[in-house]
Symmetry: C2
Subunit: 223 residues, 2 copies
DNA sequence: GTCTATAACCTGATAGAC
DNA sequence: GTCTATCAGGTTATAGAC
């Protein structure tokens, strides 16, 4: 028995050494690690942390359950990685956009609407996933992203202050309005689609129209 | 063994008959049934179906775990009852409001904003709960509520058509806008509050302001 | 109706062969 | 690195005493 173990162990090491000689950077695992992460992204964003079973992720990625723990140690650690990357994808770019001194307010609004309509059309479950999991564990946000206190002194708030007819209205209202008008229709999609008896293509068309409409609406609100 | 079973069965029936003679309507259970439902409402809306354990509900309602199954047979059956009631609370009233021929469009918008700001201020977890669980099981909505196809021929859509400067814009956009502007700030609360470094009282004040602002904004969008 | 105890099942994680 | 088998712990639901 021990002899058998020894034999396979040695053969395994020999194989590994051989591969490493061929390819200095071990690429065999990179691929499966990425496969697991992609599957985890899909399943977690669709079902949420609690409803997701590690078995679902394993099955979805076509690998074995044990491998998941081999690469990521635990369900929670894997989730944290996915969550962090998702949040970064959601926030990255937007911060520089909002602080860009060279673009007008209207262009900024258009850019925000376009970015999020693109992002959420590609991954419809994203906003509800982030919002739900953030509520379940509100501490996850602040540590990671450096957005605390960022908005108050941002360029866009300055531009809103200048554009707003009524200085008594907090500029944050308009930030909330832009995000609400862009994101919420996707979040409430099951209700809206049912409410107005829309096909998928009808709904998608409406969302496309909003790329142009939202900047126009926000402009009107400011007056 | 059979004899023992028989004995308890008979004794149980006798007891029940006795109680019914004393009190025509059995009130002993009504109270605990309601206690369980209230606890279930709290826990389900806060943690969602998957993350909720029946033990949490039992503990929260101060009763025994077995009683939950005695009254509601299963976690899922209890959940369905809670979900149905929650949806009805969210939709009831609004349908008649939207079809009221005697109120102006602006008054309708004000009424919607007020109703939902009241409702969600009292139960902040409600919208995310509904939206999340609806996504997890989209079939839950259509069967229950009679809102399929309701909107298209509603009074408010007619009023929006009249008020809108641009007849090319689907009235549904404005319905989505009203709901988005009202509900989404609450849903995105953890992000917005963090983004602008707001205290709870600051945020609540902003939401109060929106009661008046939203009707004004929507009016401006229509022009 | 309400409780305690437990059955039956499921899920995350690991041990160990290969 | 990857698999199979299995453990340990937790969860829903029920049986049975009172």
């Amino acid at each position: 028995m021990n002899q058998t173990n020894n034999f396979y162990l040695c053969s395994g090491l020999y194989l590994k050494a051989y591969k490493m000689a061929k390819k200095p950077k071990i690429e065999t695992n990179r691929s499966t690690e990425e496969k697991i992460k992609e599957a985890a992204r899909r399943v977690f964003t669709q079902k949420g942390y609690a409803a997701t079973r590690t078995r679902d992720i394993a099955e979805e990625s076509g690998i074995n359950l044990a491998l998941l723990n081999y690469y990521f140690r635990s369900k929670e650690k894997l989730f944290d990685i996915i969550m962090l990357e998702t949040l970064q994808g959601f926030i990255s770019g937007i911060k520089v956009m909002l602080n860009d001194e060279s673009t007008s307010l209207e262009k900024k609004i258009e850019a925000i609407a376009n970015k999020y309509i693109d992002l959420i059309t590609a991954q419809p479950d994203l906003p509800l996933f982030i919002l739900s999991e953030l509520r379940a564990n509100p501490d996850r946000l602040p540590a990671n992203m450096g957005l605390k206190d960022f908005l108050v002194k941002s360029c866009i708030v300055k531009q809103i202050r200048e554009a707003s007819k009524d200085p008594g209205v907090n500029p944050l209202h308009f930030i909330m309005n832009i995000i609400s008008l862009t994101v919420f229709p996707f979040v409430g999609r099951p209700i809206f689609q049912n409410l107005a008896n829309l096909k998928k293509s009808d709904f998608d068309l409406l969302m496309e129209q909003r790329r142009k409409l939202i900047p126009k609406w926000v402009k009107a609100m400011l007056k």
